[in-house]
Homo-oligomer: 214 residues x 4
DNA sequence: CATGAATGAGTTTTCATTCAT
DNA sequence: TATGAATGAAAACTCATTCAT
């Protein structure tokens, strides 16, 4: 009688569970997320979780890893289309990154990993190095290119890249954490667009390069 | 000097407990923090916490509120010293903000509130509006000033202010969350200095303002 | 016959727990009863209680309600067999009430509710009105019948009914509370029989009805 | 500066504490009564209780004993005024007992001891034997007298005495436990008066002594 | 494979009891 | 004596984990 929708799946289960788990972990944090709620969201029962994952921590790690995979691959591909002007590459990188991260579930990872860094240092370290550092290097390469071509001023590429990530990272966190009460949250296009503009051209009016603290 | 075994501290205790609690909440999150550890860090026993706080949640709120008070006051004072050039005001704001926030325990609040926004929405909302929004407006006033004086390009002040906060916010979170494995974390002076430079002058070389937003 | 280790008892459990709880609550009172003891008496572990009841108070209320149900139903049925003489009806009522209440777990309710009336006023009120008041009215109806038929003197039925309940109520409490050290506790038959005799015929010798209330 | 009302007392303290304690114990039971509340009601601080009483149990026992003393003495005195008719003696006993018990704090003892009999058996036994048994015997003596004089029918005095106590005991418990929601609680005079009437003259109309289950 | 009842270790919370002042 | 801050044992409650079905 209760043979309603089952059958098929099985292969899909771990992924569905990891996805459901990620959503809740992002929303509530590791400790505050109940496995029963994860199971419910994935449409299975509590016990089923343990058929696919050793324990809560394993589920957590798996959820994070699963979400990171595509990001990891994509992070690489973003850089080397060196034909176009550096400023344009930079804009593309920022916007492309948003397409990839912002919309997706992956967008929750930064919030989750900031929150749990203290409790899962290895995982945080791994995330930092394989995603953030990698993305930063890709960005640095664009900046280097710009400098080499004379399009950009001779800044330190790594440091500048990190600065460029500031608004991107902030936006993704703000949007996750404070969306509800930010009645003034600008759209990603507006915010990130303006960020690129400012980072490329600066606030200063283009009459003479005044004091720049040399 | 007052090295007697400190008992009977009615006045001091709530503050000590709130401070100890904040440290642990920032480090581990709300759910993962054991009240007994908070008590131990404050040098008292489990039961003492309940002499001063209704329950764990009340302690949490009190810890956050206590930490926010000085920030709230300081957030106002930062803006109106309109004599100096706007770029300099902006730099001062960023650096001053770091002095106030970065060093201090308060610096943990953004991490904590990003992490717990989902579980304590009212508190997150309150934090966002009384600290972040207020700081953003102060920054916007500086930018407006710069525009009025012709020192800055005619950008949208509120939006630009938000962008300026991006790197500040990111730095404070990175530093809290990933410090341990960021073998390359730039000093605040270097990072924030560069951020101010880029935001003021842009990456672009000062030969002609190429078209950015086509 | 079902002597397998009884796990998976979803249907039976709430009732078993409520019954075990009632026994202990009656014996020790609400506050002095440990949930772990209730669980042990029901043959389950601490945590299981929370599978079926929100918290200790909910268990308490449920235990009382569960026990009251049969009493509630029976309380109604006791009255209207108007053929026999009123004195006989009264005797039957008292004896029947003892059969129903005295033997059973329900017999503990009066003790429990007297003890906890201050802490659970709504529950005590509910018990008073749905059990005691109802039973009193049933008794009053018998007395009214007796008066109408000229078998009883013209007393106030409600007041007299309440008096009749005095010994019944007392007996059930004495028996619960002081049984252990009442080396002289009369059997219910003896005590209640004598109570009925006295209430029907009085102590006074049947030579002239002296003035009692002058 | 805070020499407001103190001085004098000291001798009074234990009694005041015991009285305050009794009130709360009666209302809430032993376990549910917090020593801090007792102290507050007696107008002293928590620690002071331990100046006069070993611990909570000692306070409990002391509170009960203190309240029982007068009852113990009075219980004896009530009986032997053998001049008046037995029915009148009985009425006086019941009414006098109410004067002594009902009004007073002592009136709470039955409720308290019924509630705590399971947890404090020795105390309950002591109460039962020194108060209830003694009072029952006093009553039995009155009944014996009535029988000897031919005023009462030849009943078993001890058993009849116990029955007589039924309504008295019930009334004192009902009144304590259910007063709040008994919108129909008869006055003690009415209830006890009627009880005496019924027990003396019976419900039955004085035409022939019908079936009395011989 | 899947379920969900049951478990018990780990936390929160309460409050009798102590003790420095 | 009196106080009330502090303690810690004990009880309530939660939830990850197990396992019979």
């Amino acid at each position: 009688m209760n043979t309603v929708i089952p059958r098929r799946r099985k292969e899909a289960r771990p992924g569905e569970l990891a996805a459901a788990a990620l959503e809740l972990f992002v929303e509530r944090g590791f400790a505050a997320t109940r496995l029963e709620d994860v199971a419910a969201r994935a449409g299975v029962s509590k016990g089923t979780v343990y058929l696919y994952f050793e324990n809560k921590e394993a589920l957590f790690k798996s959820a994070v890893e699963t979400a990171m995979m595509p990001a990891l691959e994509a992070a690489e591909a973003l850089a080397d289309e060196s034909e176009r002007p550096a400023a344009e590459l930079l804009r593309c990188f920022v916007m492309g990154w948003w397409q990839m991260i912002g919309t997706n579930t992956i967008g929750g990872l930064p919030k989750l990993l900031v929150a749990e860094a203290g409790n899962f240092p290895e995982m945080a370290g791994w995330f930092y190095e394989s995603i953030m550092l990698r993305a930063k290097r890709a960005m640095a390469r664009i900046i280097e290119l710009g400098i080499r071509r004379g399009e950009f001023r001779p800044v330190e590429p790594e440091l500048a890249a990190r600065v460029v990530f500031g608004p991107m990272f902030s936006y993704i966190l703000w949007q996750r954490a404070f969306k509800t009460f930010m009645h003034d949250l600008p759209s990603p296009e507006r915010y990130l667009g303006e960020a690129v503009n400012l980072l490329t051209h600066g606030l200063a009016n283009s009459d003479a390069a005044k004091d720049a603290t040399p």
